[in-house]
């Protein structure tokens, strides 16, 4: 135990550079003779490309090259999908080609059709304006309900009904049987609104090529540099891994949108090779709205079968999920494998059946967005539980409690694949109720009513699955690779330590937390540890950061590698101290012969490893002190918790104000409570954004994006939010070496349902039983106008 080790609220090492403007993002990197690229994008949601004329563009001053699909057709393969899914008929999903530049057809507004490379950004833009594209505009379809109707415009000739995959999980027969004998069935239709991820740093890529060695370097704003090297380099560009270095320097947020590999990254790399000059592309914000993979977009019908006492007998869910115009990197996996299996939640529902139709439409492809499938599942489950409680006249807390998986029931096998290892829902619930002052809510409602405001309170008790992912399970579900994590620990001769991780830090604070972890294990200050990430030339092959995996999986790999360091250190110490290896114990930064005061510090052992004394047994013990480990988790981790929100609604204007928010999360071992709190805050705010303001809207007739800038896409702001009370109540994960579960997504998973339960509670006097997201002022006003008991409530 060290003072800045595991559990200490250490300030972030990263903050010095981030808060003083010294971060180094892709756009900050300038290479000699670099060119600038812009992409000409489709103004139409669905159109045939009849002809592209680039002559005028090529004549523009400063324009170096213009590339279209015809230039790359036999040179760059399509954008690959890393996780395929299988339908309930046993057949693989439809996976039409996704060419890097629009070929034959464009399928959403923003689909790239040409790349213009020039000496300056302005020249590239001038050139882009001169590329003439003749389109034949086709009818477009943007919503899932319309896209599967007979006669809907088809995106692909060979994909009937725009259906990518008809997927299911659970036991249909058992579920139907339970419904047949249920005392009560609650039914609910829900829409999970589409979101734009909006990382603070837009996507950017800069590639260079060295003709003599044929080496490529790609600097790109990605969450997974090694995976990008395989997908972009090997699969799309046929560049061997040894010849492509991918560097993800400081990355200003990703939220899943940067765990996707994109055509632009491949095009920039290819162009750098063709032109033998560095090529840089930086998306502007408008472009980000039209080309970053978006999130959510479900239409769902759910049914919950209940016994008279409120016990859940079965859950039946049918979802239409919109994956946009193309199959994105992880696109089809999100509304299926990361959604259906989460529908058990914290409850003992014995039978669950979930079917998902994964549907193409003329919209930007969807993929992972913070929470990725799990917020959608939590929204369905926690909303229908509230609806059921209302219909049965039961208390919302009591109906949850009655269905909890008891803490003695763990490990618990759900009916939808997952096996939870540990949890204590009563404990997080009790803390949530106390901290939110749940029992005295009536007084606050009364006080608000005196001010003309409708006050509501909402609660959610959730379970999520993260720590992605056990490779064996993931591959059974369609993953086209392992999902382990790597670490390399290099003890330097003078005794300080460099940690190379395959995880990637884009705001999470890995440099701080991993230093704490290693420092704690080695008995040294975290200041003596440097964490290196984001460079395929430096770190061992790693899978990157998403799915709240870095601490649980990446941290476990680090712990495993440190264990190997200590094993070797013990051997060296045994030799130097002339003792048996079994008698050496490591404690407080030193190797000691048990029961004696004979000891060697960790620094002395490091020194001996690199400067072997004459007696060092080089024949049986290698010099040096550096170890690599790969950690593949045996199970997902299962953070859980209880969130409570209070809102006030102004019935005259429809404005909803979030006035209180309490998050009690079980995230396992806490490595740094300050960072956990920051992660929970950020996650909650993103979920509140979905619940109250964010909404990605396409015009159904033209397929144009109506919310294409911050003028119309509403991001939550500091003054929209109350102080968020965030605490943890933890049970340690049972199956990884550090007990960590993860905290990156819990807030986003729990908060949309929590806030909407509060909104519906506030509107209950009007007879309103459901409101779709976002609870925008106009939507609330309209809902009140159409409410069954409007007169009575007023």
């Amino acid at each position: 135990m060290t003072i800045d080790g595991i559990g200490a609220p250490v300030r972030r090492k990263e903050d010095r550079r981030f808060l003083t403007g010294r971060g180094m993002y892709v756009h900050d990197i300038v290479r000699p003779r670099q060119l600038y690229a812009v992409f000409l994008r489709s103004p139409h949601a669905h159109a045939e490309i009849r002809a592209i004329d680039k002559k005028t563009a090529l004549a523009c001053p400063g324009v170096v090259a213009v590339f279209t699909a015809a230039d790359v057709a036999d040179k760059i393969k399509g954008v690959p999908c890393a996780w395929g899914i299988t339908g309930k008929d046993g057949k693989p999903m439809k996976e039409p080609p996704h060419p890097p530049l629009g070929s034959g057809k464009v399928r959403h507004v923003g689909d790239p059709v040409a790349m213009i490379v020039a000496e300056t950004l302005a020249a590239a833009r001038n050139g882009a304006e001169q590329v003439q594209v003749a389109y034949k505009v086709l009818p477009a379809v943007t919503g899932v309900v319309e896209a599967i109707k007979p006669g809907a415009p088809l995106l692909y000739d060979d994909v009937a009904g725009n259906l990518c995959c008809d997927w299911a999980v659970g036991d249909k027969a058992a579920t139907d049987a339970a419904f047949a004998k249920a005392h009560h069935v609650t039914r609910l239709d829900l829409v999970n609104n589409r979101l734009v991820p909006n990382a603070m740093e837009t996507r950017a890529a800069l590639a260079e090529y060295e003709p003599a060695s044929r080496d490529y370097t790609l600097y790109t704003s990605t969450q997974l540099p090694h995976v990008a090297r395989v997908l972009l380099g090997v699969l799309m560009l046929s560049i061997p891994e040894r010849k492509l270095r991918v560097v993800a320097p400081d990355v200003g947020g990703g939220f899943g949108s940067k765990q996707v590999v994109y055509a632009e990254e491949a095009m920039v790399t290819w162009a750098a090779g063709q032109l033998e000059r560095p090529v840089k592309w930086v998306a502007d914000r408008s472009e980000a709205f039209l080309s970053d993979a978006q999130g959510r977009d479900h239409v769902t019908h759910a049914e919950l079968a209940l016994a008279k006492d409120g016990k859940f007998l079965a859950l039946r869910v049918s979802t239409l999920a919109n994956i946009g115009g193309y199959v994105s990197t992880f696109g089809p996996n999100i509304p299926t494998n990361l959604y259906g299996p989460l529908l058990a939640g914290a409850y003992t529902t014995p039978a669950i059946y979930c079917e998902v139709k994964v549907i193409f439409s003329n919209t930007v492809p969807t993929d992972a967005y913070r929470g990725a499938g799990r917020p959608e599942a939590t929204f369905v489950l926690e909303r229908i539980i509230d609806a059921a409680a209302h219909e049965l006249g039961m208390d919302r807390v009591e109906i949850r409690r009655r269905n909890f998986i008891g803490k003695d029931s763990y490990p618990y096998q759900t009916p939808v694949m997952l096996q939870y290892d540990i949890g204590d829902h009563e404990a997080t619930l009790a803390k949530g109720l106390a901290l939110s002052r749940w029992s005295s809510f009536a007084e606050r409602r009364k006080e608000a009513a005196a001010r003309g405001k409708l006050r509501g309170i909402g609660i959610v008790t959730y379970v999520e699955a993260c720590g992605l992912a056990p490779s064996r399970i993931a591959q059974q579900l369609g993953a086209r690779g392992g999902i382990f994590e790597s670490a390399n620990i290099r003890v330097n001769p003078s005794g300080d330590v460099t940690v190379f991780t395959g995880a990637h830090n884009h705001g999470q604070g890995h440099e701080t937390v991993f230093s704490q972890l290693v420092g704690d294990m080695l008995g040294m200050s975290s200041d003596m540890i440097e964490v290196v990430h984001g460079d395929t030339a430096r770190s061992p092959f790693g899978l990157g950061t998403y799915g709240s995996r870095s601490a649980a999986v990446g941290g476990s790999a680090i712990a495993k590698a440190v264990g190997k360091i200590l094993d070797k250190g013990r051997k060296i110490a045994a030799h130097l101290l002339e003792a048996s290896e079994q008698d050496i114990e490591f404690k407080d930064g030193a190797f000691t012969v048990a029961g004696t005061d004979r000891r060697k510090t960790f620094g002395e052992i490091a020194g001996a490893a690199y400067t072997p004394p004459p007696s060092y047994p080089l024949e049986t013990l290698e010099p040096g002190l550096e170890e690599t480990a790969f950690y593949d988790p045996v199970n997902f981790t299962y953070p859980a918790g209880c969130h409570v929100a209070e809102v006030e609604i102004d019935p005259e204007t429809g404005v909803t104000t979030l006035v209180a928010y309490t998050a009690v999360d079980d995230v396992g071992t806490v490595l740094n409570p300050m960072i956990v709190e920051g992660q929970v805050h950020g996650g909650v705010v993103q979920g509140v954004g979905q619940a109250l303001c964010e909404n990605c809207v396409y015009d159904p007739a033209s397929g144009q994006l109506l919310s294409g800038s911050f003028m119309d896409y509403c991001m939550p702001r500091a003054d929209d939010l109350p102080i968020i009370a965030s605490v943890t109540e933890n049970t340690a994960c049972t199956h990884n070496p550090i007990g960590v579960k993860g905290c990156g997504e819990t807030g986003t998973i729990a908060s949309p349902a929590t806030v909407m339960n509060a909104v519906v509670d506030a509107l209950a006097p009007y007879g309103i039983t459901h409101v779709d997201m976002p609870a925008s002022p106009q939507r609330i006003w309209q809902t009140i106008q159409a409410a069954p008991h409007r007169q009575a409530a007023e």
């Binding site: 304006e129 204007t653 909404n695 003028m711 509403c714 925008s776």
Partner: protein
């Protein structure tokens, strides 16, 4: 942004000369609309004529029963003016609620007024207070100045130099902002003036307008209850993904009542 010539005259006379000699010039005051438009390549003027070098156009002075604000006064200057905060606090408060600090430090009264954005705040104050727009050529009553969306009574080459705001007995501006842009979905300026009560609405329609149907009742009794039966028609009001015309009509009556309440507070 495309290329353009840049001029910075130091007098109105120089400005007049420049305007006569350049084919397609755009006038630059605070640039809070023009610069983003140029950056998005939505306009390509031959030249920008920057007005900020012209002396004496940013002052805020009392002139009898009115406060005269120079066209180049920034929103921040109006918001922070001790004179205005005392004489017409509703106007200072309105300026303090425009955009964010960066916008308020650059944007100007004259630029906003001449641009006549349907969701801008200032037009509501000018119409609500019965202000007079002073130009290089003449004086124009606010009621006659704002014609249509982004259109005013200004002739080509005519520049707003100042606005004269009569000091009201009391006044208030209440804005219902778009949750996304924070521009006014509906903004209502009410003023009890020597010539009677005036109610001006911005954001709701394509151009600022007087809510004349609300004024007689308030003339009789300046109280929110006077507007109890007020019904605003949705006909002709704006509609977008955040607020359709019926919702804007409803908000107009709600926000008008709140503005009266605020004026009395």
């Amino acid at each position: 942004m495309y290329g353009f010539a840049y001029h910075r005259p130091t007098s109105l006379q120089q400005l007049k000369h420049l305007l006569g000699s350049i084919e397609e010039a755009r006038l630059l005051a605070g640039g809070q609309t023009l610069i983003p438009t140029l950056k998005q390549r939505l306009a390509s003027p031959d030249a920008l004529i920057d007005l900020k070098g012209i002396a004496g156009m940013a002052s805020i002075d009392r002139a009898g029963d009115a406060i005269v604000v120079g066209a180049l006064a920034t929103h921040a200057a109006v918001a922070g003016s001790p004179l205005l905060r005392k004489a017409i606090p509703a106007l200072a408060g309105l300026a303090d609620g425009i955009g964010d600090p960066q916008v308020r430090n650059r944007g100007t009264l004259g630029g906003s007024v001449a641009n006549n954005d349907p969701a801008a705040d200032y037009p509501a104050a000018l119409v609500g207070l019965g202000a007079t727009i002073v130009t290089t050529e003449r004086r124009i009553a606010a009621d006659d100045f704002f014609l249509r969306m982004f259109e005013t009574d200004l002739e080509p080459g005519e520049i707003v130099t100042a606005v004269s705001f009569p000091i009201p007995r009391r006044a208030a501006y209440v804005k219902f902002p778009s949750p996304a842009s924070r521009y006014a979905i509906v903004g209502v300026f009410v003023a009890e003036t020597t010539a009677g009560v005036r109610v001006a609405v911005t954001g709701a329609g394509p151009c600022v307008f007087r809510l004349k149907e609300a004024e007689p009742a308030l003339d009789r009794s300046f109280a929110p209850e006077s507007l109890a039966g007020l019904h605003v028609s949705a006909a002709g009001l704006n509609s977008d993904i955040h607020a359709g015309a019926p919702y804007r009509a409803h908000l107009t009556s709600v926000i008008a009542k709140r503005a009266v309440q605020a004026a009395l507070a």
